[in-house]
């Protein structure tokens, strides 16, 4: 079976890419194939990248405070482009209340500063693995 493929994305005008790059490295070191979108992507572009790359998951990083706008837009695009099987998760400077709200909307997990890399890696492996086995059944 091919390794898991994950798109690590930065959306909007937010240039803070330290977290996204560290996560990208950690996922790659855990044996996954990582596609980093680079900065300033629109929700449409992020979902298109995931589809073109046949990705199992999208991790979106936002530290500019625009999370309540951009996460729902990515969810909308996933739906519009028929890619709801892609595991969508994210992180950044996101207050706890907002994280709860985003999870209700369908974001699978929100990781805030201080989240252990291993926890993120384990989450991605488990959730994306689950989706795969569902698809192959």
């Amino acid at each position: 079976m091919r390794p898991l493929r994950i798109v690590v994305a930065k959306a909007g005008l937010d240039g803070h890419d330290r977290g996204a790059k560290v996560i990208a490295r950690a996922l790659r070191d855990a044996g996954m194939e990582v596609i980093y979108t680079g900065l300033f992507q629109t929700p449409e572009q992020i979902v298109q990248t995931a589809i073109q790359e046949d990705a199992d998951g999208i991790g979106l990083s936002i530290l500019s405070g625009a999370h309540m706008t951009l996460f729902p837009l990515v969810l909308e695009q996933l739906k519009a482009q028929g890619a709801q099987d892609v595991v969508f998760f994210g992180g950044g400077t996101i207050p706890p209340d907002d994280a709860v709200a985003l999870k209700k909307m369908g974001v699978r997990a929100i990781f805030t500063p201080g989240a252990p890399l291993q926890e993120i890696v384990d989450f991605v492996k488990a959730e994306c693995g689950k989706e795969r086995s569902l698809l192959s059944n």
Partner: protein, 543 residues
């Protein structure tokens, strides 16, 4: 008599005993031998004297305290104006403007690119009308202001000058600084607009304009803060920041300016991270390297040109989301390091900034932290109290050595711009930040509340500042209103003249920008006009 050799402790965090947070090797003990070749006059000097290792002023903070300057901005200009008045009433000594993402990236609040970002991480400033509102009721001739904006810095400066002149304050008396350090944007913070080479010309124009017309303005503030926040080591922050500064200086010299005409008004901005002595050593090394370079390599003659003056901010990246009150303590130590390192001004972070922009309460505690430091601890009573410490002096030397090694590497690339284009800095920083994160993962380093001493149930107890959904609509309406109530002929004419100046390297852009701003051209329109000529920068990403 010792019967058993002393044993180093083992267990949590012991993996970090032999190195600083930046992986500089440490010994258990430093002695006079570590100062082997140190020559007091050559390497330290008295405070206020070359090479300024011990500080810029003979009396240190006895002569004058550092400026307590809290960075602030959110929502609309009117909301931020209220916060400024609050901070000034609480005893803050200068203002520092945080702009929102669309403003930093050159988009108006009603642009598609701005959706979700307006007023979120700073104040939205679209046109002169917003800048006027931001300073309403604040005497721009009396207060000093620092503005953190880089891509569109020349436009923000034009707006500041125009707003002051509307208040009847001459540009000649305006005090403060503007970050305008675009090189570190390509290196670390990633808020750019134009490509590096044309942008260097904009900076030279700004420095020349300020030198001639704004004698009290610190022309640009060259910043390592964001390099560190992006994950660099202390030595990388030091080296890359100074290298950026030297690149601007060389560009001005190449443009025919006399170094002593502009160098005294350059300033720097550093991070103060949690590794206490390493930070102090970094600040001291920065002054010494700069003084030597300015005098020996660039031949500056005015002692003020040799003096590296800097602002410091405590490390946002050292704050934790878990147990946020602990951040108050971290900030206090980091602030102390900045003061023992001889900073000229200081911003102390608020405990809640990992979650959101700071609440008024959190900002007040952060400011009080500085006031306690300044007035209660007595650390200001003696000038450079750590000077001569075996450890601090050898760590200062080590910082200087590491920085010099980086300067050589940068030169091999053919300078800062070429090294940016090759992705050198970006790769070095990504490596360092990953190394650091791994050391926390393995437990070599302990972060209290994160990988040790966790609370079983993390409960949120602090009040957060929320930016209302209405802000974006209000600000978008406001910029549309400005566009409808101005002279369209003046807008067209000033933008055309600006574009002509962009094509003519001998025509300074600043007066044209001030004319555009006075015609109420919006920031987005001015940026678009300039992008037409210069293009937009696109990064090749590495991780």
């Amino acid at each position: 008599m010792i019967e058993r050799p002393p044993q180093q402790r083992t267990g949590p965090g012991s993996g970090a005993l032999d190195r600083t947070i930046s992986d500089v090797p440490l010994k258990a003990l430093y002695t006079p031998e570590d100062l082997g070749r140190l020559d007091y006059d050559r390497d330290l000097g008295y405070p206020g004297f070359y090479p300024y290792t011990r500080g810029l002023h003979p009396l240190g903070y006895r002569g004058r305290l550092w400026t307590m300057r809290q960075f602030a901005g959110f929502g609309t200009a009117r909301q931020t104006n209220e916060r400024y008045k609050f901070l000034l009433q609480q005893g803050q000594m200068g203002l520092s403007v945080a702009f929102d993402m669309p403003t930093l990236m050159g988009y108006d609040s009603d642009a598609a690119e701005a959706r979700g970002e307006v007023g979120r991480c700073g104040v939205a400033i679209d046109s002169l009308a917003d800048m006027e509102r931001l300073f309403e009721g604040i005497d721009m001739g009396a207060v000093t202001t620092s503005m953190t904006i880089n891509g569109p810095a020349a436009i923000a400066l034009a707006q500041y000058v125009a707003a002051a002149e509307k208040q009847g304050v001459s540009r000649r008396v305006l005090g403060g600084t503007i970050q305008a350090d675009i090189l570190k944007e390509y290196i670390a913070q990633k808020e750019w607009i134009f490509p590096p080479r044309p942008h260097m010309r904009i900076i030279v124009d700004m420095i020349r304009f300020c030198t001639q017309e704004m004698p009290r303005w610190n022309t640009i503030s060259i910043s390592g803060y964001h390099i560190r926040e992006a994950g660099s080591t202390a030595a990388q922050e030091l080296a890359f920041t100074l290298a950026d500064g030297f690149a601007y200086i060389e560009a001005c010299i190449e443009a025919g300016m006399d170094i002593d005409s502009f160098a005294p008004r350059l300033s720097f901005f550093f991070n103060s991270h949690i590794d206490f002595f390493e930070e102090i050593a970094k600040f001291r090394a920065a002054r010494r390297i700069y003084a030597r370079r300015m005098r020996e390599r660039y031949g500056a003659k005015d002692p003020r040109s040799w003096q590296l003056r800097f602002h410091t901010q405590t490390a946002g990246c050292s704050a934790t989301a878990q147990q946020p009150e602990n951040n108050i303590v971290r900030v206090a130590y980091e602030a102390l390091a900045a003061v023992l390192g001889g900073t000229q001004s200081l911003h102390t972070n608020s405990m809640d900034e990992v979650h959101a922009l700071p609440s008024e309460k959190a900002v007040e505690i952060a400011l009080r932290t500085q006031q306690v430091l300044a007035y209660e601890t007595n650390v200001t009573n003696v000038v450079d109290p750590l000077g001569g410490s075996y450890f601090v002096e050898s760590l200062t030397d080590e910082m200087e050595r590491e920085a010099e090694a980086y300067f050589e590497q940068i030169e091999e690339y053919g300078g800062v711009v070429a090294a940016i284009e090759a992705g050198f800095f970006q790769k070095e920083i990504a490596e360092a930040s990953y190394r650091y994160q791994r050391s926390i993962e393995t437990g070599d380093r302990i972060i209290v509340g994160v990988n040790a001493f966790e609370r079983p149930e993390e409960t949120e107890e602090i009040e957060l500042l929320r930016i209302s959904e209405g802000t974006e609509r209000e600000q978008a309406d406001s910029v549309r209103h400005v566009r409808e109530h101005r002279d369209p002929g003046a807008v067209r004419a000033t933008l055309e003249r600006l574009q002509r100046a962009c094509r003519d390297p001998h025509d300074n852009l600043m007066p044209h920008l001030i004319a555009c701003v006075n015609a109420y051209c919006t920031e987005g329109e001015i940026v678009e006009a300039m992008v037409d000529v210069y293009g937009r920068y696109v990064e090749r990403s590495v991780f």
